[in-house]
Symmetry: C2
Subunit: 136 residues, 2 copies
């Protein structure tokens, strides 16, 4: 954890996440790695949101410092870097799923596959039923 150089203003868990991500670009990189199969600097640059090169470089560095992303040299091309999520980064999946579900409910223009939403809704229904049956 490369926290020593930063001022962490409170011990609140939500603030911790927000100090880690800092801004929206950081989380969009996580999204590209998690759901869009992107792995290289050039692929991140191609995203619809048009991240700039200096922001991308800064946010990748920050994600590496926080051990959310790691980079390796491509086996077939030693001048090419491959980025991937660490286990800590992969643990962000539930956060990303809840963000997706909230957007799908509240933004008519959000483009979320129905198959994904159906799967997610079914899993949540099961959880609710299980909890309610315990309470009966």
């Amino acid at each position: 954890m490369a926290r020593s150089s930063e001022v962490c203003r409170s011990n609140c868990p939500i603030n911790f996440v927000l100090e880690t991500f800092g801004d929206k670009w950081t989380l969009l990189i996580v999204r590209d790695l998690m759901f869009k199969g992107k792995r290289t600097y050039g692929e991140f640059l191609e995203s619809d949101e048009r991240i700039s090169t200096n922001i991308l470089a800064d946010r990748l560095k920050r994600l590496e410092e926080h051990e959310i992303v790691e980079k390796t040299v491509a086996p077939d091309n030693r001048s090419k870097l491959i980025y991937s999520l660490t286990p800590k980064g992969k643990d962000l999946l539930p956060v990303m799923l809840e963000i997706t579900a909230w957007s799908a409910k509240h933004d008519a223009t959000t483009n979320t596959p129905n198959s994904f939403l159906d799967m997610f809704a079914a899993a949540k229904d099961k959880m609710m039923s299980a909890i309610l049956s315990e309470l009966e």
Copy 2:
């Protein structure tokens, strides 16, 4: 929805959330309303993260435009404004819970009550069990 004045750069659901929140201060206000019982401008200013008055005013305005927060006049003092989460704002609870769980797992300095984590872990275990039993 006050989206007309904004450039929404993609229809990705995760980008929608990030366009809505924009930066960490916005989500910290949601946290204060959801978990800390804060309801007034003065109470938000007192948070450990030390939000500045101009940022607070801007972010409250943005949250109102997105219909995540609403304000009313205090019944006992007509010069006092009370802020609260709308139903759309309350729907952010699962996102906030997953953020909290992630921080508790990955940040040793995060201050999350054990009772809360136990409750949350139990609910997730039930969901996993229910899903796995369906697959057997």
